[in-house]
């Protein structure tokens, strides 16, 4: 990295080429970790257990580890590219520089849809959790969940509006508590501290792979849920003090955290809850870690995991608002969308118009769409994004080989991670097709239609000469 002080008041958010108001560079590696892990950790508290329903407990473990390999490749590739293309928009900005405008437009939409849908799903879940608390505290009526769903979205949007440092510091605290809760329930129930309650052998006997190997394949769909969103760390690129250091460090620490959290979660829940109950996330175990805590007989664990579930949900929604607004902002700044969205608040230094604009969209999905459909569209958008990544890194290394430009991080064994990622994406597409074929086809159809709109109607407004902002040499072969 250069030896200039990018946190100085002279240069802070103010570049040397005439920028007047920019995003604020105040974040460190811990915030990057909190952003990535915060978005994802709710998947450990709920959702992953649908994989058990698809193929049994062992299938869920295999899906956990194969999805772990997929996301490790995602994290390594992302770390290299984004520590070099360190700008808001993350994968959208990468695609703009490395592949081209049409790919960038699509990737930008994948990002906004994936995060806004996930935010809506989290708000629905938070509303449900409040209703559970109401029932547990003796409320006898039917609690209206809508005010709590709306409050979650409005409060987190307000927090994001007011500044990125407070937003991601809040995420850091609640994510750390939610992760610590997983460690504590593992230590308390596995027999390491006190008496263990694990009964893996008894619960698995005769149910090792209830639907055979096709069940393992089908489980891959929900295996993504253990890690979906870790790639969101890249959206902080324009707001970290040292992108070349903080982004790879935060992202790779994040995926390691999630690999540990996912495996411990599977171990704890599958050792206590029967697979038929665990695998039914609608009328069975909605929140498996919380259910495990209840079966442990410890009131302290019940409270801890209850708060852990709520905190993980809030952290995820909070990170999603941050990421969706940065992607929308970056697209506006480049005129892929109206440039009006490319505004930065002069006091709070946040993309305030993008944050406010996405609030009603999240509310519409949170109040008007079924949870499973919202989650599926989020997963599909994420999966399309992961499919782009291997193509992106192969082109990146080909156009700008090692040593030509400065990279904050160089991922090892290229092109093995890219090929592995592409293969695992193909497997997961097939797994999604088995369960949600109609939605998959509908989503791809949607992106084809918007691509046509972009090509014939929107592309004319884009300033093509200003698209490439990185001061790199001409790519090889051009």
């Amino acid at each position: 990295m250069a030896d200039f002080d990018i946190t100085s008041k002279v240069q802070d958010g103010m570049g040397p080429h005439g920028t007047k108001v920019g995003l604020l560079r105040v974040l460190g590696p811990a915030h990057v970790w909190a952003l990535g892990v915060g978005i994802v950790l709710v998947g450990e508290y709920m959702g992953w257990n649908f994989a058990v329903g698809k193929g049994g407990a062992y299938a869920a473990l295999l899906a956990c580890w194969f999805a772990g390999i997929l996301y490790t490749c995602v994290a390594m590739i992302d770390s290299e590219v984004t520590s070099t293309v360190a700008a808001a928009g993350g994968q959208y900005t990468q695609a703009k520089h490395i592949v081209g405008p049409l790919m960038a437009f699509n990737v930008g939409l994948y990002l906004v849809f994936a995060y806004t849908m996930l935010e809506a799903a989290n708000a629905i879940t938070a509303g449900y959790l409040v209703s559970v608390v109401a029932t547990m505290t003796g409320y006898t009526g039917a609690l209206d969940q809508r005010p709590f769903i709306v409050l979650v979205i409005m409060f987190l949007a307000w927090l994001n509006y007011r500044g990125v440092l407070a937003t991601l510091t809040f995420n850091l605290v609640i994510t750390a508590i939610a992760f610590a809760a997983i460690l504590i329930i593992f230590l308390s129930t596995s027999g390491i501290v006190g008496g263990g309650i694990m009964q893996h052998a008894a619960l698995f006997e005769g149910h090792e792979l209830p639907y055979g190997w096709i069940g393992v394949l089908a489980a891959m769909h929900f295996g993504l849920w253990y890690y979906l969103g870790i790639e969101g760390t890249t959206q902080a690129a324009e707001e970290v003090r040292s992108p070349a250091r903080a982004l790879p460090f935060g992202t790779l620490a994040g995926i390691m955290t999630l690999l540990i959290a996912a495996t411990l979660t599977w171990y704890v829940c599958s050792g206590v809850l029967p697979w038929e109950f665990l695998g039914d996330g609608v009328s069975g175990s909605v929140a498996p870690l919380f259910d495990t805590a209840r079966l442990s007989g410890s009131t302290g664990l019940v409270w801890l995991l209850g708060f852990g579930t709520l905190f993980a949900t809030l952290a995820s929604a909070n990170g999603c608002i941050n990421d969706a607004s940065r992607a929308w902002f970056a697209m506006g700044r480049d005129k892929y969308l109206p440039s009006w969205f490319g505004a930065v608040h002069p006091k709070y230094r946040t993309p305030y118009r993008s944050i406010v604009f996405l609030v009603p969209i999240a509310l519409i999905f949170a109040l008007g769409a079924p949870l499973d459909q919202v989650i599926t569209f989020s997963i599909l958008s994420g999966l399309l994004e992961y499919t782009f990544m291997p193509l992106n890194i192969i082109l990146f290394r080909k156009k700008w080989p090692m040593g030509v430009i400065k990279r904050g991080y160089e991922h090892p064994f290229h092109p093995l991670p890219a090929i592995t990622l592409l293969a695992l994406c193909a497997v997961t597409f097939f797994a999604v097709f088995l369960g949600y074929g109609t939605q998959l086809v509908a989503m791809i159809g949607f992106y084809i239609v918007v691509s046509l709109w972009f090509h014939f109607r929107r592309y004319r407004f884009i300033d093509r000469g200003a698209q490439f902002t990185m001061p790199w040499p001409r790519p090889q072969g051009y």
């Binding site: 920019g22 900005t93 005010p147 002069p346 001061p471």
Partner: protein, 56 residues
């Protein structure tokens, strides 16, 4: 009326307040500053400085 009924109203009220704050501040900001200033953010400033240092 039970406590949770009041909490529901409180949640609606807080949501409305937060929404009002954002909309009011948004309108105030848009009328105080020119569009050129608000949309003056540029991508790649830090990278330009970093790459200059890398080459130099």
């Amino acid at each position: 009326m039970q406590t949770w009924d009041y909490i529901e109203y409180l949640a609606w009220g807080l949501s409305a307040l937060l929404g009002l704050f954002m909309v009011a501040d948004w309108l105030k900001t848009d009328t105080t500053y020119s569009e050129d200033v608000l949309t003056s953010s540029r991508e790649g400033e830090l990278e330009a400085m970093t790459e200059e240092s890398f080459k130099g």
